[in-house]
C-alpha cells in the first residue's frame, strides 16, 4: 500500500484533540513515534503542563518470550498524574498491547482523572478492548506488512510501509 501523508494526518489529529483541550490537559508520548507526535502537538497547542514520555519496555507482556531489548529509554512524567487529564499519543495503533502497557505504567505514577488515546493511524487488528478517541486515519495493512513513522533531519514526519523480514 502507499501510506498516507503523515503531516496531513497530524493536522487532522490536532483538530480533533483541540476541541477537547482544557487548561490543564497533559500529554504523554510513547517512544519513539508517539514522542515525536506529542512534541509537535504539545508545541502546537502551547500546553502549560510539561510533556511526558514513556518507554513501555518494563511493562510489556512479551518479556518472557523476547527478553529485554536494547535501547530502552527512560520514562519521564514531569507532572503530577493524580487527577490529571492525559492525552496519550502513539503513532500506529495495532493490537492495543502497547497502550495497555503504557496505561499500567501511568497508573504507577498516580490515578489520572482521564486518559484519552490519540493515534496517527489505526491499522485495526486489536487483541484487547482498546479504543482511540482521536485517529488521523484508518489504514488497511496486510498482516505481514509493517507500518512505521519516520522523521527526517528537518523534523518532517512520514509513514513507511515495509514487508516483515524484507
Amino acid at each position: 500500500m502507499i501510506p498516507p501523508d503523515a503531516e496531513r494526518l497530524l493536522a487532522a489529529l490536532a483538530e480533533q484533540i483541540r476541541r477537547d483541550l482544557k487548561p490543564g490537559t497533559a500529554m504523554v508520548g510513547i517512544y519513539t513515534g508517539g514522542v515525536w507526535l506529542a512534541q509537535r502537538l504539545h508545541q502546537m497547542f502551547g500546553l502549560a503542563t510539561p510533556m511526558g514520555t514513556i518507554d513501555v519496555a518494563f511493562y510489556r507482556d512479551d518479556y518472557r518470550k523476547t527478553g529485554l531489548r536494547t535501547g530502552v529509554k527512560p520514562s519521564d512524567i514531569p507532572f503530577p498524574v493524580e487527577d490529571a487529564d492525559i492525552v496519550l499519543v502513539d503513532d500506529v495503533l495495532y493490537t492495543g498491547r502497547t497502550i495497555r502497557a503504557a496505561m499500567n505504567e501511568i497508573f504507577d505514577y498516580g490515578r489520572p482523572r482521564s486518559i484519552r488515546l490519540a493515534a496517527l493511524v489505526d491499522r485495526g487488528g486489536r487483541q484487547l478492548p482498546i479504543c482511540p478517541q482521536y485517529v488521523g486515519a484508518q489504514v488497511q495493512v496486510e498482516g505481514d506488512e509493517l507500518i512505521e513513522l519516520q522523521r527526517d533531519q528537518s523534523g518532517r514526519l512520514a509513514l513507511a510501509v515495509t514487508r516483515r523480514g524484507a
Partner: protein
C-alpha cells in the same frame, strides 16, 4: 575463544560471573538499561512488573549489608519474590555441600541465585550445575570478581563524566585482596578508558598487575596527578595473613586520601569508594564527606544497575 559459562549457545548473557571476557556491547546494554530504571524511583509505585512470579534467592555465605540489601531492593522493584538465606545459621554449618544447598533451593523453584562467597569460583561452580532457565549472579567471590560493583561504578563514572574515552582513572589501595579492583580494571579497559592507574604499596599489588593494561604507581601524590576519577578501596585486613603492612596509621600516611593529596587530581575529579569505608585508614572524613565525593550516589545507582542485570538475565 575460551569457554565462557556466562554466555549461552544463543550468544545471550545467562549468568553474570565476571566482567572479564564480556564484550563492550553487553556492558553498555546494562548501563543503558540501568539509566532507564533510574526513573522508576520517580513513580508513586516504585515497581515495574517484569519479574512477577520469579523467585530470587540471596545466597550470602559472607557478611554483607549494602550489596545484599541493594540486590533485595532491586529484586523487589522488579516485582520478584526474594528469599534471603542466612547461611551462617543454615545447613551449611551442618555439613551440607554448596551444590546440595543449591539443588535443594532449585527444588523449591528458584529462578535466580545471587551468590556471595569467600571462595573464588563459587558462583561459577553453581552456574555450571544449575538447570537451564536458572540464572546466577556473582555478588563477590573471594579475591576474584564483583561484577555488579564494577558495573555500578562504571554507571557512576558515566553519570558524572559523560563517557569513558578521555578519562584518567586511578584505583588506590589494597588491590591485592580486592575483587572490586579486578572487575573494575576489566570494565574500564573494555569500555575504552585510555589510562587506568593502580596506586598502592608493593605488598598490596598483585604480581604482574601491569599485564592487565594498567600503570603502576607506588607514590600516591604522583599517581593522582591530573586524574578524573579516584576509586578508593577498603583495606581488607580480614583477608590479610602475615605482615603486609606496618600499621594502619602508616598506611593512611602514604595511601590515605586526604584533601592535600586530592588537590593533585583535576579540580572536577570525583572520589568513589565501594564501601564499607574505613575512615582515617584509606580515606579522610573531609574527603569522604566533601563535595567531590560520590560515594552515596554510588549506592543509589547500585539499585538501578542490579535491576538492569537481573532483568536482562531473566529475559535471556
Amino acid at each position: 575463544m575460551a569457554f565462557n559459562p556466562q554466555i549461552g549457545t544463543d550468544g545471550k548473557l545467562k549468568h553474570l560471573l565476571t566482567i572479564e571476557g564480556l564484550p563492550m556491547a553487553v556492558l553498555l546494554h546494562v548501563l543503558d538499561t540501568a539509566k532507564s530504571f533510574m526513573s522508576v524511583t520517580a513513580q508513586e509505585v516504585k515497581k515495574v512488573p517484569l519479574l512477577r512470579g520469579k523467585a530470587i534467592f540471596n545466597l550470602f555465605f559472607e557478611p554483607s549489608t549494602r550489596t545484599r540489601t541493594t540486590f533485595e531492593i532491586a529484586a523487589k522493584r522488579l516485582s520478584a519474590d526474594v528469599v534471603n538465606l542466612n547461611i551462617a545459621t543454615s545447613s551449611q554449618t551442618k555439613g551440607e555441600t554448596l551444590l546440595d544447598t543449591v539443588a535443594n533451593l532449585t527444588a523449591m523453584h528458584a529462578d535466580m541465585f545471587i551468590v556471595r562467597h569467600s571462595q573464588s569460583g563459587a558462583a561459577h561452580l553453581i552456574a555450571r550445575h544449575v538447570g537451564p532457565g536458572i540464572h546466577v549472579i556473582n555478588a563477590g567471590d573471594g579475591r576474584h570478581a564483583h561484577p555488579t560493583q564494577a558495573l555500578l561504578d562504571m554507571f557512576t563514572i558515566r553519570h558524572y563524566k559523560g563517557g569513558f574515552n578521555r578519562l584518567r582513572v586511578a584505583i588506590v589501595g589494597d588491590i591485592l585482596h580486592s575483587r572490586v579492583a579486578r572487575s573494575e580494571i576489566h570494565a574500564l579497559t573494555t569500555l575504552g578508558v585510555p589510562e587506568v592507574r593502580v596506586i598502592g604499596p608493593r605488598t598490596l599489588l598483585p604480581r604482574q598487575v601491569e599485564k592487565l593494561g594498567v600503570q603502576v604507581y607506588h607514590d600516591m601524590t604522583a599517581g593522582l596527578e591530573d586524574v578524573d576519577v579516584i576509586i578508593m578501596l577498603r583495606l581488607q585486613q580480614e583477608r590479610m595473613s602475615g605482615a603486609l603492612l606496618p600499621s594502619a596509621g602508616e598506611f593512611f600516611k602514604s595511601y590515605g586520601l586526604t584533601p592535600e593529596k586530592l588537590a593533585r587530581a583535576r579540580a572536577d575529579a570525583i572520589v568513589m569508594h565501594p564501601g564499607p569505608m574505613n575512615r582515617g585508614i584509606e580515606i579522610d572524613s573531609a574527603v569522604a564527606d566533601g563535595r567531590q565525593s560520590v560515594i552515596l550516589p554510588q549506592v543509589t545507582f547500585g539499585i538501578a544497575v542490579r535491576m538492569a542485570v537481573m532483568s536482562i538475565l531473566a529475559g535471556n
